[in-house]
């Protein structure tokens, strides 16, 4: 009896001793599982692009002015320009212009000799330039109006059709741009179109200076 009781108690104690850690182990996974039961916010902060914000980096317009074509006098010049503003400092510009060259002094004095035909006198150029807004600032009109402005420099290359030939042309320019309104700009500019020419017998570098006034619109 004594022995049987002892065996019973011992086996009972052993069972309890075994069961407690087992139970503990069984509970173990459920304990950390309780932690993520906190509700996680499912809403992510959305990023919003402003709808239809008017981006105005293109600038297009027309110019008129005067060009001094080396050896051929000064003429009226007109044309168009298209610019793209990359940053507040840097822009690219495409320019097309045309003028009708006059007569050389030789043609004037000799009376009848003509060096070029009428078509060959048409001076047409284009150039692709990079521009730098070197001196941004403001222009003050009276006491109440201040208009953003910039003095810029451009350097580029292009082609000039003149005298029956196309010439590789280096275009160096400077100008003042004044924004009359947010989208309308007034330019005053000077530009040197330099190219090699052999029209008068020997090869020489000609400089053709142009002064223009232009109106452009940003869009």
């Amino acid at each position: 009896m004594d022995r049987e009781l002892r065996v019973l108690l011992l086996s009972g104690a052993a069972l309890v001793a075994l069961a407690v850690p087992l139970q503990a182990r069984a509970q173990e996974p459920s304990t950390p599982a309780a932690a993520p039961q906190v509700v996680e916010p499912q809403v992510k902060r959305r990023e919003v692009n402003p709808p239809a914000l008017d981006t105005e980096n293109f600038e297009a317009g027309a110019f008129v002015g005067t060009i001094s074509i080396e050896d051929f006098g000064s003429s009226f010049v007109w044309g168009g320009r298209l610019a793209y503003h990359f940053t507040e400092d840097v822009f690219a510009e495409a320019t097309v212009g045309t003028a009708k060259a006059g007569q050389t002094s030789y043609e004037d004095l000799s009376g009848s000799a003509q060096l070029l035909t009428n078509d060959e006198r048409q001076f047409t150029y284009y150039d692709l330039s990079l521009g730098w807004n070197a001196l941004p600032g403001e222009v003050f009109l009276g006491g109440r109006r201040a208009m953003p402005s910039a003095v810029y420099f451009t350097l580029g290359a292009g082609s000039t059709d003149f005298g029956g030939d196309s010439h590789f042309t280096v275009a160096l320019g400077t100008g003042l741009r004044v924004l009359a309104t947010d989208w309308l700009a007034v330019h005053m500019g000077a530009r040197d179109l330099a190219f090699d020419s052999d029209l008068l017998g020997k090869d020489k570098l000609t400089h053709n200076l142009q002064f223009t006034f232009s109106l452009t619109a940003f869009f």
Binding site: P50, E56, H85, F86, T87, N133, P148
Partner: protein
């Protein structure tokens, strides 16, 4: 009387429609201690007004990295993109305005460039465009005008290029392509005859990123021109280009 009434109606209609347009505009709430409004779209223009945290401003237009805004009091000024991106919409969402970031060097899609150089002794100007299929593979096209001593011409080509290390600031690349060459001998020569031929090129170059949107690129190409004469002609072309990517 009637025309006046019509005119009044029209004017009233115009007036009525103006707030509707304004209401459709995009508004943001300032989060910085102050939002700085400048008189012009550039860092050199003076800060003429500030807007306190919590106030709302309306976005009007954008030029390069500057956005023109209007305050509730009707004051207008230009704000830098970086500062506007630290604002929130009235419903608490953050605002992003598309623009360059350091990642755009690798992740951009399009490139446009202006180039100048020398093609077999002829001065060259060119425009080019490229599309990045992957960060290291470009499909590109270019058109060049050539000004030689004895002849002028045009050279256009399309091709592909491989960038070896697109994530580096300066990376070498190789390219191949095909195109056409049009040559126009100068009128002063005897019996000038225009001719156009197909051509193919292989080339190598190096490009370096100047900022998050500009790069400089130098390239050498050797063209083989498939002339109608017995021999093919080989031309070397050197160009330096300035390119913008977006």
């Amino acid at each position: 009387m009637r025309p006046f009434r019509l005119l009044t109606c029209l004017l009233l209609g115009l007036l009525a429609s103006t707030p509707a347009v304004a209401a459709a505009a995009f508004e943001v709430v300032v989060q910085d201690p102050y939002l700085e409004l400048r008189t012009g779209p550039g860092r050199g223009f003076p800060v003429a007004q500030v807007v306190d945290r919590g106030a709302e401003v309306t976005l009007l237009r954008r030029r390069t990295d500057w956005i023109k805004v209007r305050t509730a009091g009707g004051i207008e000024g230009w704000v830098k993109r970086a500062q506007l991106e630290r604002t929130l919409t009235p419903s608490g969402e953050s605002v992003t305005l598309p623009g360059p970031s350091p990642e755009s060097r690798v992740e951009h899609r399009w490139e446009v460039g202006l180039a100048t150089g020398d093609t077999d002794g002829a001065s060259t100007i060119a425009v080019s465009g490229a599309y990045l299929v992957t960060p290291s593979l470009l499909v590109r096209a270019d058109v060049a005008q050539l000004f030689g001593n004895a002849s002028n011409g045009w050279l256009g080509s399309v091709g592909i290029a491989h960038l070896f290390m697109p994530q580096w600031r300066v990376t070498p690349f190789i390219g191949i392509g095909a195109g056409a060459l049009y040559v126009e001998p100068k009128a002063t020569l005897v019996q000038p005859e225009d001719r156009s031929d197909t051509a193919a090129y292989a080339g190598l170059g190096v490009r370096g990123y100047l900022t998050d949107r500009f790069m400089l690129q130098a390239e050498w190409r050797q063209y083989v021109v498939f002339t109608s004469r017995d021999d093919n002609e080989e031309i070397d072309s050197w160009t330096v280009s300035f390119a913008y990517f977006f």
